[in-house]
Symmetry: D2
Subunit: 348 residues, 4 copies
Amino acid sequence: MQTRIEVGILGATGMVGQHFIRFLQGHPWFDLRWLGASDRSAGKRYRDAMTWHLGVVPDTVSGITVDDCKPGHAPRLLFSAMDASVATEIERAFAQAGHIVVSNSKNHRMEPDVPLLVPEINPDHLKLIPGQQRARGWTGQIVTNPNCSTVGLTMGLGPLKQFGIAKVIVTTMQAISGAGYPGVASMDIVGNVIPFIGGEEEKMQQETQKILGDLRGDHIEPLTARVSAHCNRVGVVDGHTETVSVEFLSKPAQADLRHAFDSFRGVPQERALPSAPPRPVIYMEDANRPQPRKDAERERGMAAFVGRLRPCPALDYKFVVLSHNTVRGAAGAAVLNAELMYSEGMLD
Amino acid sequence: MQTRIEVGILGATGMVGQHFIRFLQGHPWFDLRWLGASDRSAGKRYRDAMTWHLGVVPDTVSGITVDDCKPGHAPRLLFSAMDASVATEIERAFAQAGHIVVSNSKNHRMEPDVPLLVPEINPDHLKLIPGQQRARGWTGQIVTNPNCSTVGLTMGLGPLKQFGIAKVIVTTMQAISGAGYPGVASMDIVGNVIPFIGGEEEKMQQETQKILGDLRGDHIEPLTARVSAHCNRVGVVDGHTETVSVEFLSKPAQADLRHAFDSFRGVPQERALPSAPPRPVIYMEDANRPQPRKDAERERGMAAFVGRLRPCPALDYKFVVLSHNTVRGAAGAAVLNAELMYSEGMLD
Amino acid sequence: MQTRIEVGILGATGMVGQHFIRFLQGHPWFDLRWLGASDRSAGKRYRDAMTWHLGVVPDTVSGITVDDCKPGHAPRLLFSAMDASVATEIERAFAQAGHIVVSNSKNHRMEPDVPLLVPEINPDHLKLIPGQQRARGWTGQIVTNPNCSTVGLTMGLGPLKQFGIAKVIVTTMQAISGAGYPGVASMDIVGNVIPFIGGEEEKMQQETQKILGDLRGDHIEPLTARVSAHCNRVGVVDGHTETVSVEFLSKPAQADLRHAFDSFRGVPQERALPSAPPRPVIYMEDANRPQPRKDAERERGMAAFVGRLRPCPALDYKFVVLSHNTVRGAAGAAVLNAELMYSEGMLD
Amino acid sequence: MQTRIEVGILGATGMVGQHFIRFLQGHPWFDLRWLGASDRSAGKRYRDAMTWHLGVVPDTVSGITVDDCKPGHAPRLLFSAMDASVATEIERAFAQAGHIVVSNSKNHRMEPDVPLLVPEINPDHLKLIPGQQRARGWTGQIVTNPNCSTVGLTMGLGPLKQFGIAKVIVTTMQAISGAGYPGVASMDIVGNVIPFIGGEEEKMQQETQKILGDLRGDHIEPLTARVSAHCNRVGVVDGHTETVSVEFLSKPAQADLRHAFDSFRGVPQERALPSAPPRPVIYMEDANRPQPRKDAERERGMAAFVGRLRPCPALDYKFVVLSHNTVRGAAGAAVLNAELMYSEGMLD
């Protein structure tokens, strides 16, 4: 039997860190052994260092003594759930010290030599790593996954890239779990919609262009499509629902798009990576699906659910896409990135 | 003191009928005296003919004996809250019999000789009436107001029509009160989003073009803009929130649009109609407004609230608009229509 | 390997029927082969006979041709999810015809010769069966499980019965999934509480006395405790939360009660029945637990979660209990009943 | 015309302070002129000193310069919305300096010489004031209103006090607005119930005994009834719903209780105080009422709504009571206290 790889989590006490812990339970390759957090938590047992928000603290981590987020005792492979206010320096310090930092934080996503991965769509962007290491003098590396609202959009658009994407207008209806804890005040969201999420629209617009962009030598040529996002918070616990209108350079038939969704498979599926859903994009026939409370948890939260593909009177076609924001949009995305890297021999 | 005008309601026992009753309480011009409903209710006292959903049945209607929906005893001016399954024939019969039918039903909205009014935007569409009466041989008439989701969109677009609207993409997040009673099952909407409302997108697209269209002689030339709607239901009680992206034929500056919102006034404001809000479109400065639970009830539910005007990377500009779906999107809309007609001398 | 037992469902197209189907997926003993429903559905494939509300219809039942609810082709062991309006006659007809009817319906629960089971608490009530068969001339039999709100209460009280229960006052905050589909209108429950559920309080009061009652020869002597229920509906999807105050005949110390909760095990645990939770009652230490959205799904929805045990200034002690209304309160309860019967040799 | 009385608010920037400001808009007697807050806010215009959560900041206060919470420039009559962490000292300092402090804070409620008022129930408790002033050497005074969950209970029990209350068991389902801002995290309450509110049960139990107690010379003899509270938070915006079981010393008929609710009037009604509802307790006949979203706002939020009076199998009778937690349970309660004091000549 295969040797399991020791892994750790940077920022293990926050909500995203907790999602990492939950998602890694029982992982066949990765063995969670190390938990890093702020000085305030360091030295405490994990169970005493945080308030757990996801049911019951798993026994496997409950008694681990939290370390501080400085290189030293951590395993080589680290998942980063660092808060944006501190992630820049800490992730760099670990990469500098030889660690493979697979990060969910936004801080390094848009740097030209940092892969921003959706493994089904742009696995070749991992080829930025040698340049990253060379330019920065790192023995380690930083690899990132997209913002939770970007993941669903790019998984919906990925299969359609072949038709030449010219314009995209997306409106999100985002779950509260994406905002951490305590996050959104109940007085703001019960029976309400908040039509604004700070910085979210810019992230969706830029990240989508990078993810759907093409590797040209040692850099990414962003997709030239014009992408516009309207981001909203709604009173849903898990699952971001997005309405999407797209204009294409070619003029594909609706059946072509539908076929593209149905037949879409990527490297994670070919290699049957442990966290890869059998089909990354699942088209739902019912007129009123996908729906976050009913569908987001399916396929272990790792697929994107698409529905309502139809002509758009203003652009060419429109559809709905749903993905699980704390799984495929955070912890699960990073773990799938690491699985892809493992399958590439990059963790050897 | 002015003589008050007797009015009645067709379809008085349903949810929309109840909203009419509530909205007409204390109206300075219109005196609600007659309530029509199906044979099942006719002959009963109103309080025994329905289950009231809006607090407490007003005393002024509680004891009225419900009539059936046949011309005979009804006053000349009637507000129609008829269900779409029966509105076509019944509204026609009343118009034939000389009644002025101010309808919230969808049935006649898209007929070429029926005004589909937003009084601030297209009051001149009332000039279709003589042709309607002539062509149909009616002494009465039918005038309609838009679907609840169309109202907010057209009030947001009305001030911008001057810049030449080429394309519109709108995503709605609609309240449950728009679906009547029992309407949406709680199992479908608690903590959920339903990305589909049957027939709603087509209504929004077509009605918007008609309302923003121009009267040419005896017919309406629809706005040539391409309009695309994505309609969603969310767990909000009252108030439809809509994100809107617009492409213009001219290239206005953002400040021009903002000025257009702020300075927008229509005939209802000029004539200070009783149900007209002082400003039909209210721009909110806060980045996270408007919000349905906090704003929809303001201005007695008769204004549209706009916010977040900003450039759209895919079209030209984008913004958020909110309106109260059962007030400005239903009962209040019809009453304002009747007030406009009164101010035109059409009720004399 | 053991032979699996063929089972069927009476009332398979409704919400409770769907919960049975989902709960029986992958069951080690019971093999779901037969689905019965009304004449309207009979003859159709299952997938065409209903609207599925629980994610995706399992492949194992999707293609089964629905039968009508008359004895003939059904397997001997049947789970009944019949609507109360028809359950009385249909369940009797099947019992008459030799079927073992394990019913979730309320109709026969309070009949003196019908066991109303919570397998951890009153497994000996199965001894009513011979008398039932004799008196009614049946070769089959009817066994029932409690109402969804009764289950949590009795599982909370069961461990405490030894201290002599004199009075119980319970207030429920019940999930909407307990009301079926379409069930509760969203306009009635979004951001609201409904302080009334028709017939629920009477059921809780009577069923609790029967379940906690003692088998005396061939009948059940109900618990003499006075039980009072206040039943409310809240905007929760799954999980009934109940606050309970209890007066005891003896005067146990708080530690005695706590020990009773912690050490409570029943026949299902001793025999490791497939659907039995390892611990039927789980006491949670955190001051603000149990909570329905966070805890109801744990232990596959089969345990009762208790918290906040403390003195009651008016009676003796008070606590909170939570249980999953569609699992332990419906389908899971009936399946556990059948497992208990199997382990008793009653299905041979 | 009567001279209006200048009033101020201690703690004007928090949620309770905002509720005071809103409730005092257009008050016929009290003229809001002064706003006090922490040093952090002092010196700023009110609109710049806080984030307003209740629609739009009223013009009448928007431009007022916030003062710090030290005696000096404040008017004689002050409403206190101070946070409990600072209210003790600050309220004392103002009372010492001659101010009449009508406080919503919990800090002084249970002190023996401080009136804890529900004006319809125990207006005579104001007679504690001379003793309070004498004992403490104050020229001013402190008067308090109950906790938001206590108000509904005591208004429901007040009319029944005549029958001799022996035991009370109450379960609350409390709105999120009672927790201030940001208050309850949305992740904790969307689709959930939290069966715990820190300190709430103790407050309800003790305050109820004091309010329903009798003035004996210079002190209050608490009601000897044993009161037990179970406090829960639910996803409701405004309005606390409470289920109540009561045991009486006498054995009144159900009709006696009903008559007591219907005929209940107090000093505020007799004197037609501006904020007094015509009937303080409104009994609702419908089996499923009162409900918070549908009823709490009625009567300007100042009445208690009672329903479902019926026998309790464990105690004697049970019923449901609803009251508006931020109006009758906070700002409105304090203003009604001040109106009572005015009508007693205590503000001269």
